[in-house]
Symmetry: C2
């Protein structure tokens, strides 16, 4: 059976230098979706505009038959219904989530996978139970080093049949803002975002936020499942183990100004003052600076950051005004966080196309 | 200025025979999204899974500053706030909506536009005010022949700067199930589906259901705006006027069985009985028959149609069971409506890639 599964599920690969977007990449782009950048005008991304990546199929689950168990290296294994979880004190955390592969389709050579351009991001208010409270209740065995989260989504990936599973280091799992969330923006989770329950790990790329959670298990050795040990690692060659993708690198995006051409998405603005705004975020530390260029990076000026609203893990709005003159322009934005992490002007590259946070550029025609 | 706009907004064209998906087509695929086919397990498509096509940018509107006017060839022009409309008797209609360009990316030669494969569909419960009641109130001038709907979305398309506008023949506008909808699935319209108000024309392709409505005007000659006179017409050559796209051609889609490969979306099933199901719809007449083939169209058997639930304009569920044997298979489904319209096994073609309702085929590996 393994041989046959490998026949229908090929290893990861890079596009040839002249290889255009394939029908397989297009099929992923048609199923999944980014956030149209004008949606950054909303503090919280409305349902359906938040980016979405589903590895296999969206499971259709019925909360009446659903239980969440915590097992493995714990003192008192336990299980909860969704009503049990809803009856506990709830916490809401506003979180900017981004796909680790955001920007992948612009890389050269291009890793063949979900072909994100730059829109794989969104910000939601997630409501649920802090994971730490449940872990305290079951009693973590001193031997435990990681927490393994298993979703109900099942498929085959690069030849490996699997339920989607991710291991998270115990110290991260014990942060008091890591949630088991049953609401998104005040509504029950939509099916595509993990109904009835998903993990939320603020500051980490999307792959950590396991959807359709059905099991949590504490383990005494680092988890070696596919999504941790094979996928979501920074590798320059196929053979090296690579470092794992974890926290979100800083990024600023612009709300494209003016109006678009339908087909090319080219922007058109009128001469005169043009308000520019966008959002910036980092999973490492708060955003401290956003710079904007209106001459394709030749010069940069600081944008104004909106007041800090106390959401440590959500994007921050920035704005400035551009005096547009007739002609062709390239706008750009660059974020820096409190740890000094910033965005490169040259494309970083790895075989998975992960954490590629090249500065955002928006060509604009003023006429 | 026109010359410059034409420089950034090129005419429609066909892909060269060897031309792969372009970055511009990919950018549209990343913004807009289809419905993952497993979502057909839901009678009503959850928000965020319904297909979405936005020509320009999603406008951000505030209902406090919003009014809908009806003007032109009417006896008593009038305007309403959203609260005015909400205070009137509401009607809810379940409607399957499909993009006229669904399937376009599989055409040879391929029209360069939003590159849908087969997923540009969804079914929602739309709630609002029957347009006819407002038209009766303002009094339609006997000279009126069409109703022109203007949205708040603005852009340039094939060289023409425009607000999105569509004309609808008066006899269609006076049908009692044509709605001005302010709710989708019992919630206020999401921004991307036309908040605060959109037109719903059951049975017609999506381009007729104007979003972000801000004006309705009755005219005494057929509307010659871009979306009616240039786009959304069936043309074999660029020069001919072509017939307009109106009602949805019949189509059946399968919920892909088993589980997928992440990258290729190839399906894997186990030997033995495999439940098959899907949905079928037509904008011309009720669905009367769905046939299924498990041998790539060599033979067909009738699927079972679920009982008619009285939703004249919504898809109908169908099901059957397949005895899967190890090997490679191609499943297919074909819908027929009460007027005898059915789906072709050879690809129909026009320059816009509209109303392409080739039978749905799903390759499956049984092992």
């Amino acid at each position: 059976m393994d041989t046959q599964l490998r026949d229908v599920s090929l290893p990861a690969r890079l596009a040839e230098p002249d290889e255009a977007i394939s029908m397989e990449e297009l099929a992923l782009a048609a199923r999944n979706h980014g956030m149209p950048l004008e949606a950054m005008q909303h503090d919280v991304t409305p349902a359906g505009l938040h980016y979405l990546l589903v590895h296999y199929d969206i499971p259709i689950l019925d909360e009446r038959n659903w239980r969440l168990g915590i097992t493995g290296h714990v003192e008192r294994p336990a299980a909860w219904s969704l009503d049990d979880l809803r009856a506990r004190p709830a916490r809401t955390v506003r979180v900017t989530m981004e796909c680790a592969g955001n920007g992948r389709a612009r890389l050269r050579p291009r890793p063949i996978s979900q072909p994100w351009l730059v829109e794989a991001v969104g910000t939601a208010d997630w409501t649920g139970v802090p994971l730490r409270e449940l872990l305290d209740e079951v009693g973590v065995d001193p031997a435990a080093v990681e927490v393994v989260f298993t979703g109900a989504d099942h498929g085959v990936e690069r030849g490996v049949e699997q339920d989607y599973q991710r291991g998270l280091p115990l110290d991260e799992a014990l942060r008091d803002d890591v949630l088991l969330a049953y609401e998104m923006n005040g509504q029950p989770l939509p099916p595509q975002h993990g109904y009835p329950l998903r993990l939320v790990v603020p500051g980490w790329y999307g792959m950590a936020h396991v959807k359709w959670l059905r099991d949590i298990s504490l383990v005494d050795t680092p988890f070696t499942g596919f999504q941790n040990a094979v996928a979501y690692r920074y590798k320059q060659t196929a053979d090296e183990p690579g470092e794992p993708a974890t926290r979100i690198a800083p990024r600023a995006l612009l709300v494209p100004p003016g109006f678009p051409d339908f087909m090319s998405r080219r922007r058109v603005v009128r001469p005169g003052p043009v308000p520019l705004s966008g959002r910036a975020w980092s999973g490492h530390a708060p955003i401290t600076r956003v710079e904007v260029s209106t001459d394709n990076g030749a010069s940069w000026t600081d944008a104004k950051l909106d007041p800090d609203q106390g959401h440590n893990w959500a994007w921050r709005r920035w704005s400035t005004t551009w005096q547009a003159e007739p002609g062709e322009h390239v706008l750009a934005a660059r974020a820096t966080d409190a740890e000094g992490n910033t965005q490169p002007v040259d494309q970083p590259w790895n075989r998975g196309g992960f954490a590629n946070n090249l500065i955002h550029q928006v060509p604009v025609t003023c006429l």
